[in-house]
């Protein structure tokens, strides 16, 4: 296939050529970055929380009348007892927060008390000996809390745990390549605490700032005595829905002086949906825009090529009359499109990287992997070829006798 005559023909259609090149370039730039955003969001929202999500729900409870720490302790004990007796409940514990929740505690972790700045932040979950079995966490080293290790703490007391259980992610950060069990670390301003166990995975509560340390959590063996608490309840297989209805009813029946609002009972699938709502939405939006964009560009190519074919009817007829085969004509338009698309993706690759740099600069996004540019380039070249195929086929079927007749 001779490229020179094609280039010369394109020179006669400068405006149209430039428009298609521009359109392909912009499409590539947007599609690459959109795919990249989609991938990032999907990775984010498919992170496992570490919790056995199919069987766990949370109940947020407030007692009326500002109970003192002693009263709160008695109320909490009796609530835990009530929940344990509720049919379908496998296990339960009380905490201050839960993974994927919207708020919670965090503390800086230091090796020693006189270390100036913290080595890592960590999310703090109040727990007891039932926490691991309720959430379905796996111990990868060490042991669980014992019931005699579980203490009480009032709202404004300093957190000073003797023993703690941490996640593998935190252990790897603090003691890379070494066993963390038996070592001591300082949580916040507290004196050293001994690590007695390491769990496989437990995500932090969701806050935009906690993204960098998403699995660095610590379990502390205390009951936090405030005017309210969060119960985490594990249901027996298949009984989650029943428990979600029965548990608050049982709590109200045992003691009506409390508030559990309509949004205060949530299963983990509801919690997950709420936590990642904007990530899922962003991925869907980007996906829709990509598809519509590709369709628009394909339509543009079909439209402009059809126009060119109709303009060059005589030209095609003459070529056919002079011995060009149908395949030659088909090849001509396909090659022409390939040349244009090639120009488009070259400009587009530069634009894609430029747009990504803007996003990195303004929105703290990550750098675009070049694999996206390669995939996008191949996709657009294929799109161009398939879009041009129908008008090119029509061109190749023009009968030379008919189109040259008017000359």
């Amino acid at each position: 296939m001779q490229i020179k005559p094609i280039l010369r023909a394109l020179w006669h259609h400068k405006a149209g050529t430039v428009l298609i090149v521009l359109q392909i370039a912009l499409t590539l730039a947007i599609v690459c970055n959109s795919l990249f955003i989609i991938h990032q969001r999907v990775v984010r929202l498919s992170r496992p929380s570490g919790v056995d999500e199919d069987h766990v729900l949370m109940i947020q409870n407030q007692w009326i009348g500002s109970p003192t720490p002693q009263q709160a302790r008695a109320l909490m004990s009796s609530d835990l007892e009530t929940l344990r007796r509720t049919p379908g409940v496998a296990d339960v514990f009380a905490s201050n927060a839960y993974p994927l929740g919207s708020g919670g505690w965090s503390k800086g972790v230091r090796y020693t008390m006189d270390q100036k700045s913290a080595t890592s932040p960590t999310a703090i979950y109040f727990a007891d000996e039932h926490a691991l079995s309720t959430l379905g966490l796996t111990l990868v080293a060490g042991r669980n809390f014992r019931s005699e290790e579980v203490g009480q703490m009032a709202a404004r007391d300093s957190l000073m745990p003797k023993v703690i259980i941490i996640t593998k992610a935190l252990a790897d950060k603090l003691f890379p390549g070494d066993s963390a069990v038996g070592k001591t670390i300082c949580i916040g301003n507290a004196p050293p605490s001994t690590i007695i166990g390491v769990v496989d995975r437990l995500q932090t509560w969701i806050g935009s700032f906690s993204d960098a340390w998403v699995e660095r959590s610590t379990l502390v063996p205390f009951r936090l005595l405030m005017s309210g608490t969060t119960y985490l309840v594990r249901a027996r297989p298949g009984e989650l829905t029943e428990v979600a209805q029965a548990a608050p009813k049982a709590l109200f029946a045992a003691n009506p002086l409390r508030v559990i609002g309509p949004k205060d009972v949530q299963t983990f699938s509801q919690i997950r949906a709420a936590a990642y709502r904007s990530d899922r939405g962003m991925a869907i939006l980007m996906g829709v825009i990509c598809l519509v964009l590709l369709a628009t560009t394909a339509a543009g190519i079909v439209g402009l090529t059809s126009f060119w074919v109709s303009q060059r009817r005589k030209h095609i007829g003459v070529r056919r009359a002079l011995g060009a085969t149908r395949g030659d004509i088909l090849g001509y338009f396909c090659t022409e499109n390939l040349l244009i698309s090639f120009g488009g993706v070259m400009v587009g690759a530069v634009l894609a990287v430029g747009l990504n740099l803007l996003l990195v600069d303004r929105f703290e996004m990550e750098r675009l992997s070049l694999a996206y540019v390669v995939v996008g380039t191949v996709a657009l070249l294929l799109l161009g070829q398939s879009a041009v195929f129908v008008p090119a086929l029509r061109a190749s079927r023009l009968s030379p006798a008919e189109v040259t007749r008017s000359v």
Partner: protein, 439 residues
């Protein structure tokens, strides 16, 4: 003449309905994508108090020090209780209020309804005139209520509806978790968006507050903050209990001051620097303590109130509209150049270049109007489905109104006319003699 151009345009649409429909569809989709994302962006980036925002300021004090990661541009976004109280006592601004979010249980006294949770704010009397709160009944409490730690309360219209069926409840009592408060005012439908005074707790778009009570009273009752409490500035274990917390370096109190003019801002800046320097020389800070004084709009910007999703999607949608525009130029060019013969005849019969130019711009306007109408329908659908994309509290802010409808049509027509400039120019340059000869 205009009517004739539109007639010609209609004729041309009938001749190539597919191409015309494609142009209208592409323009409509492009405009709708941009307008939907713009509706969300506009809702979250608006100025909550347009006529007052330039006079409202947030002071910041660096009580963390550089070893705890604070820098000149990244100071704690709330104050300690003792700093907030010192700034309140100094009364250097025209008005000032310390604020913190609280949550409490409302216990209805009718014996029929269960207790429920309500969200509110602890603030000073200045809060209401400063932020231009509108009252349905009654009004604010006064300074002496603040000083006497009075058990007064202002409730929102929703809570008033729920408890008193919307009647004037001023003077009646409200039971919050076993404590009685006398209602002195009912806030009308007032809920500035974003809620600038609580964005540092991530509550910029939260539900309308149910109640407001005196800060001094809330502290007396040991009401905990429902917002952030950051203690990374306390290098030594704090004293136990509530009073230990009040005296600690934990930051949890927001402070807003009203400074009506540049002189007042200057005076407040100097006062703030002086206060920090004094804390340093007294030995509390072992570092040069930077201070900050943000006005309302800069504060919203600093706190990153507009979600990145809203900005990125607006950017991508604008890029999409650009592609649609380029596409439309291409299609219009194809469409117009196919009619070179017709243009030749019109030119030969006396139509001027300007007339040809106007004819095709008129045709583009019609495509733009059609695209705009389609875009309008798609935008309305898009705005209704924003809750698929954004947090519900943000999605509900996006709505269709007259200005959005006008803007959608305008953008569509403007974009199509811009797209038509080059093809129309090409059409006007068609050589009549050449066209007629080749026929």
């Amino acid at each position: 003449m205009l009517g004739y151009y539109f007639q010609l345009a209609l004729h041309s649409f009938r001749r190539s309905p597919g191409l015309t429909a494609l142009m209208v569809l592409i323009m409509g989709v492009g405009v709708a994508a941009s307008m939907t994302t713009y509706a969300v962006f506009r809702a979250v980036s608006g100025d909550p108090l347009p006529d007052k925002s330039a006079q409202l300021f947030v002071p910041q004090i660096d009580n963390l020090g550089p070893q705890n990661g604070s820098t000149r541009n990244h100071l704690p976004d709330a104050l300690t209780y003792r700093d907030a109280m010192a700034l309140m006592r100094a009364r250097v601004g025209k008005r000032q209020t310390a604020i913190y979010p609280v949550v409490d249980n409302v216990v209805p006294q009718d014996g029929a309804h269960r207790a429920f949770t309500a969200n509110g704010y602890a603030a000073y009397a200045d809060f209401f005139p400063m932020f231009e709160a509108r009252f349905a009944y009654g009004g604010s409490w006064n300074d002496s209520d603040d000083q006497q730690r009075a058990n007064v309360i202002i409730i929102g219209s929703q809570l008033n509806q729920k408890l008193f069926s919307g009647a004037n409840s001023v003077g009646r009592m409200l039971d919050l978790n076993g404590h009685d408060y006398r209602i002195v005012g009912v806030i009308d439908d007032w809920n500035p968006q974003p809620r600038f005074y609580d964005v540092n707790n991530g509550s910029g778009f939260a539900d309308t507050p149910d109640f407001y009570l005196p800060f001094t009273r809330a502290v007396d009752l040991h009401m905990d903050t429902n917002g952030n409490n950051s203690c990374s500035g306390s290098s030594k274990p704090m004293a136990p209990g509530w009073d230990g917390w009040l005296q600690s370096e934990c930051v949890w109190v927001s402070l807003w001051v009203e400074l009506p003019d540049a002189a007042a801002v200057q005076r407040y800046s100097e006062f703030l620097s002086g206060y920090a320097a004094q804390q340093q020389s007294s030995g509390r800070f072992h570092w040069v303590s930077h201070v900050g004084l943000f006005d309302l709009t800069d504060w919203l910007d600093h706190e990153g109130v507009v979600p990145p999703e809203a900005k990125v999607s607006l950017l991508v949608a604008a890029g999409f509209l650009l592609v649609c525009l380029v596409n439309t130029i291409g299609l219009l060019l194809a469409k117009i150049m196919r009619r070179a013969g017709e243009i030749g005849v019109r030119r030969a019969l006396g139509a001027s270049r300007g007339a040809i130019y106007r004819q095709f711009i008129a045709e583009a306007v019609m495509v733009g109007v059609a695209g705009g109408v389609l875009g309008l329908a798609l935008t309305a659908a898009g705005v209704l489905s924003t809750d698929l994309l954004f947090e519900p509290e943000i999605a509900r802010l996006a709505h269709t109104n007259v200005s959005l409808i006008g803007l959608t049509l305008l953008v569509s027509i403007f974009a199509t006319v811009v797209a038509a400039i080059y093809p129309a120019w090409r059409a006007a340059r068609v050589q009549p003699s050449w066209q007629l000869k080749s026929q």
